[in-house]
């Protein structure tokens, strides 16, 4: 999967929303989908169970139109968070140009966050992707919950962000932070256009 194809003048970014189950990855995508103007809306593919748990994955194509002469397409994916969908997660992660790690800010979810973050690194390693180089941002979701239920951003930073990647507070259900996160990961991904590593992957 190539990020930028100069011959056909296309830019395609695959961004994967990763994180533990119920942390709000699909909610992120739904919010973004809701903001896309009608004329640009693709179809959001969501394979969810009846209880709205992502069974396989969500796929949201974003056609951004021609930018600087390049047909620009973003493809947003989510992985199923539940531990037992390991194979699916690995599959979805394949060829990702950037990863958003959606962490659940609830205090009781801390272990799941850490476990999922480690899982992400393991899967990246299996794809032969250097976790230090892949564009990655962390989103601390559900920051709108009552303070006694959630961990503060510094606490979460301590627990997860040992690499000091960009992080964003969010309330994916209502919107704050969602586009900031997307913007953050997009910038990181697009920055790699000029690093020369994009064209020959």
């Amino acid at each position: 999967m190539s990020l930028v194809n100069y011959s056909t003048r296309e830019i395609t970014c695959k961004i994967v929303y990763y994180g533990p189950g119920r942390s709000g990855k699909t909610t992120n995508l739904h919010y973004i989908y809701g903001q896309v103007p009608e004329d640009r809306k693709g179809t959001m593919v969501s394979l969810a169970t009846q209880t709205d748990r992502t069974l396989f994955f969500d796929f949201l194509p974003l056609d951004l139109g021609a930018i600087s002469g390049f047909t620009t397409k973003f493809q947003l994916y989510t992985v199923p968070g539940q531990v037992y969908y390991q194979t699916t997660r690995k599959l979805v992660l394949q060829g990702a140009d950037g990863v958003v790690f959606v962490a659940d800010s609830q205090a009781r979810q801390l272990d799941e966050n850490i476990e999922s973050f480690q899982d992400l690194h393991a899967n990246l390693a299996e794809h032969g992707i250097n976790a230090r180089e892949v564009p990655l941002v962390i989103q601390y979701n559900k920051q709108d919950l009552p303070k006694d239920l959630i961990l503060t951003v510094p606490e979460l930073e301590d627990a997860l962000n040992f690499r000091s990647v960009p992080h964003y507070e969010a309330d994916a259900l209502h919107g704050p932070g969602v586009f900031e996160t997307l913007r953050g990961i997009s910038e990181l991904v697009l920055k790699r256009l000029s690093a020369g590593s994009g064209s020959d992957r």
Binding site: T8, P37, G69, T72, E187, S194
Partner: protein
């Protein structure tokens, strides 16, 4: 006594809003009792917010209330003009008298006081006089007094001494009120929502607002149906600003801002050179050319010289087009050849085209009859031969062109052809040597022009690896041929191909030869082949007798060599003659026989007489006129029996 005041400027059509309430109130107060409340009144605001309207209305109202008031309304410019006029006319007293008796002086645009010292001092006197007698002064400006640069301090304190008010930009409600009032005034009717929509646009001043309204009115007058609110912004040509626009769904804004961020990031990070190469690939790929060269460049991590790369590529493509055209003019089937679509195979394409062009009629090579080892060397031609050998050893580099000149029959053609043959032999036949007489060259050119195959004809000569042109003196006076030869010459010369020319005289003595050709001929090596010297003559006689398988004695050769000749041809002629005579006479070639034959002196009794008393008819001595080899006798007999 209102000068220049527009009757349209009245208080009842001045819309009062939060931005101008104070100014309006002050103006009204001044109008109702000039000179008593705020004196002077100083009104300032940005352009187009209603200063002039306000002071105009003030003047009108004052005049309405007290018709006997003497009011002067003028702009500072006009005031200065009048002042200057009065000074130059020597009527300053009249000027002073006029202004000093005015009850209400309204001065518009006083910001132009800047730097006008003379006017300032006059105004200072005037102000002092007016204020002293309790008369009203009203001034407007686009800035507060303290910001008018370069104004006399005393005047400044007077300007600022009364009331200073400003007029702010109208708020939304005021704008609606203004628009409604304007519509009423002009009898305009818009659909509901139109005025409101227009008012949402944040115009910097009322004039712009009015302009926009005029635009709407004009559009509505032109069109059949009345305008709706959604048309407003399109017609007025403004993008809504955030606070005043109809609140768009928040969603779209977020997406749009994300989009523009991405656009910025892409523009920043897309590598320009790659994008340009990409464009070139798309373009040439679309034209059907192979772009592997460019694609490879794209894979590089550092930027090559894109301009050069693309220019080079497109030059190659152009070259291919030319070659294809040329090749397909000879053979249409070649046009579709893959080679002409790949700029990386230009060389192949060139060869293909050249083969196609030259293929039909390969240039005539040197005659095999003129072998190098058959060329006898003597002091008269030694130089030429040595040079010829050097040329053969290192064609195109040592002496280019090589011009051999000498009188007729001294062996120029032989030597030139011999060089060609040697070149062919040394290269194992791989070289193409074109060998042409100048006269043939001219004839071919004329034919090519006639048949329209000039291109092909040229290519034939250009394709050759060496060019030998015999008797180049024939091109004298033939301009077109000289032109063509010039081009062929240059093409060969530039490509490092050997050129050999022969001529009956040195280039500098060739008449009617263009200087550019002459200088080129002279630029190589010009060698003369002289008339055969004694040593050469001896060798030549020996060789030619041997060729006819005649044995001669040394003294015969000595004798013959002593005879001077002008050309090799003469020697060959002599050999023929002697042989023929000997055959006829049935004698061996001895010195006495030869001498007798050539000098007409009979050293010994003619042996012919033994067979016949008569002298041999000279007819029989000419070997061209005698049948030497009769067919087999038996064959003749059968013929006769029949």
């Amino acid at each position: 006594m209102m000068a220049h005041s527009d009757a349209r400027y009245r208080f009842d059509n001045f819309v009062v809003g939060s931005g101008n309430r104070l100014a309006v109130a002050a103006s009204r107060a001044v109008a109702e009792s000039p000179g008593s409340t705020y004196n002077p009144l100083f009104i300032y605001s940005g352009s187009g917010l209603g200063k002039t309207h306000l002071v105009g209305a003030l003047g009108h109202l004052a005049l309405e209330l007290q018709p006997e008031l003497r009011i002067i309304y003028l702009s500072l410019d006009e005031f200065v003009e009048q002042l200057h006029a009065s000074i130059s006319a020597g009527e300053t007293e009249a000027f002073k008298k006029r202004y000093h008796t005015v009850d209400l002086l309204i001065l518009d645009d006083v910001q132009f006081l800047t730097g006008q010292r003379e006017t300032q001092s006059e105004m200072l006197r005037l102000f002092t006089a007016l204020q002293g007698s309790g008369r009203q002064i009203v001034m407007t400006s686009d800035r507060p007094p303290s910001e008018i640069a370069d104004v006399d301090e005393r005047l400044l304190t007077r300007l600022a001494g009364g009331l200073i008010v400003d007029i702010g930009a109208p708020d939304y409600e005021t704008r609606i009120a203004i628009l409604r009032s304007k519509c009423e005034e002009r009898g305009l009717h818009f659909r509901t929502g139109v005025i409101e929509e227009l008012a949402r646009v944040e115009f910097a001043n009322v004039r712009e607002l009015q302009g926009a309204l005029n635009r709407l009115a004009a559009y509505q007058a032109l069109g059949q149906q009345s305008l709706g609110a959604p048309d407003v912004r399109m017609i007025v040509g403004v993008q809504g600003t955030s606070s005043m626009t109809i609140p768009m769904p928040k969603s779209s804004g977020e997406f749009q801002s994300f989009l523009s961020d991405v656009a910025v990031a892409v523009a920043q990070h897309v590598e320009g050179w790659k994008a340009r190469i990409g464009e070139a690939i798309a373009y040439w790929g679309g034209e059907g050319y192979r772009t592997a060269l460019l694609e490879r460049a794209l894979q590089q991590s550092i930027s090559p010289d894109v301009d050069e790369l693309i220019a080079g590529y497109s030059a190659s493509v152009d070259h291919l087009k030319t070659l294809e055209q040329r090749a397909s003019s000879v053979d249409a089937a070649l046009g579709a050849n893959e080679v002409f679509r790949d700029p990386e195979r230009v060389d192949e394409a060139e060869q293909l085209a050249e083969r196609a062009m030259a293929g039909h009629t390969p240039p005539v090579g040197p005659s095999p009859a003129f072998a190098r080892d058959a060329f006898e060397v003597g002091s008269s031609n030694e130089m030429a031969v040595r040079v010829a050998d050097m040329v053969v050893a290192d064609p195109g580099r040592k002496y280019n062109p090589l011009v051999l000149h000498g009188s007729s029959g001294v062996g120029k053609t032989h030597l030139a052809n011999a060089i060609g043959n040697e070149l062919l032999n040394l290269s194992g036949g791989a070289m193409t040597v074109s060998c042409v007489g100048a006269q043939t060259f001219i004839d071919e050119l004329i034919e090519a022009i006639q048949e329209g195959t000039l291109e092909r004809w040229r290519a034939r000569y250009r394709a050759a690896d060496a060019l030998i042109m015999d008797d180049v003196h024939f091109i004298a006076g033939k301009e077109r041929t000289q032109d063509e030869l010039f081009h062929v010459f240059n093409a060969c010369y530039d490509a490092g191909k050997q050129i050999i020319l022969t001529s009956d005289r040195p280039p500098r003595e060739l008449g009617d030869l263009e200087e550019r050709l002459r200088s080129r001929f002279d630029g190589g090596l010009v060698v003369e082949i002289g008339q055969p010297d004694r040593e050469l003559r001896g060798k030549l006689y020996a060789r030619h007798f041997a060729l006819r398988e005649r044995s001669t004695t040394e003294d015969v050769l000595e004798y013959l060599a002593d005879r001077s000749v002008t050309s090799v041809r003469e020697i060959i002629g002599t050999v023929h003659r002697v042989c023929a005579a000997a055959d006829v006479a049935g004698e061996a070639i001895t010195l006495s026989f030869v001498r007798g034959e050539l000098e007409g002196v009979s050293a010994a009794p003619a042996p012919v007489r033994t067979r016949s008393d008569e002298r041999v008819d000279p007819f029989f001595l000419d070997d061209e006129k005698i049948v030497w080899d009769w067919p087999d006798v038996t064959a003749r007999l059968i013929e006769e029996i029949r």
